[in-house]
Amino acid sequence: MEAAIRLEGLTKYYGRDRGVVGLDLEVLPGEVFGYLGPNGAGKTTTIRLLLDLIRPSSGRALVLGADPRTGGPELRRQVGYLAGDPALYRKMTGRQLLTYLGHLRGLDGLGPAEMLAERLELDLSRPIGDLSRGNRQKVAVVQAFMHSPQLLVLDEPTSGLDPLMQREFYRLVAEAKEQGRTVFLSSHVLSEVERIADRVGIVREGRLVVVEGLEALKAKALRRLEIHFAGPVPREEFAALPGVQDVVVEDGLLTCTAVGSIDRLVKAAARYEVTNVVSHEADLEELFLRYYEGAGDAA
């Protein structure tokens, strides 16, 4: 089967500044692919290359089997795009903007946008400039989905959406997947793509450092845990657990870093009286440092 997206040594420099370097990747049709990386890693550069907004310095990208440069408008008709910081016409109402974009994409005006807006509880009658950040993001989401594209390219799609709307957004992605569409979405938070992505690629300083199935990645995920106990607990008992590192105990407070499953840790803690558990997902930068630069080789 032809890849929905194929990158072959895709490289982009802005003058002497690094954009992305030597990306090789294949995203399969019908797949939800999470493109993860800290800010400035090259996620947006990759996405803009896919849409022919910028041109590669070397290597190439194939989108739905076509070169974005030569595929032109016909190719982009089949792609839905959501920019990282979407700029919209502030003086238009949501309805006006979506009608305009709908016409350009060959729809008869709003098309399914009306229903999408309803699902996201978006008021289409207000000027976009008067909308909150979250509501502007909804307009951007609707325009990406409205023409039922074969491929959705979404740059940080849930930023600004409240949790309820994020859930609705995940449903939209799941439906697109059910219909056989491909979704390529970027994020700088693992937990965001965790719930919907089949596979995840992690980009760091312009290079793709790993592409893995979600399960494999989860097994390596790092978490910072704080466990509050009613009384003092022995440090050694926790430090000895496999996959548990950096254990510090101060009075009744234990802090540590856990890799992958936290099952053993929770069961060990359960032998004492626990008053509170706080879990922070380690940020991506930390995850990279641990696993892709030597320190985490044990995992």
């Binding site: 907004l53 016909e74 003086k91 016409h103």
Partner: protein, 268 residues
């Protein structure tokens, strides 16, 4: 209107378009009402103009035989020598600079060009919208002058007035297209406006001063303003070759800009 880039570009300027049309009418009627006074004192005015330095008179485009005591002569000097083309140039340059560079700086160009529309088509439709809006305002001015002419007895020839009005639209489009092209090449709105405004000013000065500064005489025909003003269509009627030169420049600039726009990266 919101069916095409052309439609949306015109639609988004519907309010300013209305203001331009309304403003033009008010201004032209006001100016027309001043004509009888000027005509009756044309002798004094012309004496005064005679006493001006030659360079200053050149700036009023005082061609052979023009007189303030006739309606066409009055409009030729008062409006067509500078004020009217200047106003339409301001309009067209603003439009041209916003069409690509302005939208690129705002980020909205990203949204549109990520969709099924080519960069060349974007440019072509924006040019079309700029031409249409400039033409509409030129037309409104034409109608306004006809009305003022009838009301205050300016004795205008509608054919010559149409030719002169078309000339104003064309010279405005030359510099609007320059702003459009510079914006398409650089993506910088301020630069596009600056270059186009400076070019318009230079074109006007080269044409006017060439009348009195000998060494400029040879380059006068390199100034687009020459093809707007030298034939004085309000007094002498349509000069097709000159109009054709202006139209060719206005069309060629966006085409050239499109070649570069097609090749370059869009700014975030």
């Amino acid at each position: 209107m919101l069916r095409s880039v052309f439609g949306a570009a015109v639609w988004s300027r519907r309010r300013s378009l209305a203001w331009w049309v309304g403003g033009s009418f008010v201004y032209l009627l006001f100016l027309g009402s001043a004509f009888p006074t000027i005509r009756d004192n044309a002798g004094d005015f012309e004496e005064m103009l005679e006493s001006y330095p030659e360079a200053l008179r050149a700036m009023f485009n005082m061609v052979e035989g023009v007189s303030l005591s006739t309606g066409p002569g009055f409009l030729h000097m008062e409006l067509f020598s500078l004020v009217l083309p200047l106003l339409l140039i301001i309009l067209a340059v603003g439009f041209g600079a916003r069409a690509v560079a302005g939208e690129e700086e705002e980020g909205t160009l990203d949204l549109l060009l990520a969709g099924p529309i080519s960069r060349r088509r974007w440019l072509a439709e924006q040019f079309g919208a700029m031409a249409a809006v400039t033409f509409l305002i030129g037309l409104a001015n034409f109608v306004g002058m006809l009305l003022a002419g009838a009301a205050f007895d300016l004795g205008l020839d509608s054919g010559k007035l149409a030719a002169a009005s078309l000339g104003v639209v064309l010279i405005a489009l030359v510099f609007g297209s320059l702003a459009l092209a510079v914006g398409a090449v650089t993506g910088k709105r301020g630069l596009a406006m600056g270059v186009a405004s400076a070019a318009a000013l230079a074109a006007y000065l080269v044409f006017s001063l060439a009348e009195v500064v000998t060494w400029l005489g040879t380059v006068q025909k390199a100034s687009p303003w020459y093809y707007y003003a030298a034939s004085a269509p309000l007094l002498r009627g349509m000069e097709w070759v000159h109009a054709g030169v202006l139209a060719a420049i206005a069309l060629a600039l966006p085409v050239a800009g499109g070649v570069i726009l097609d090749r370059r990266d869009l700014a975030v």
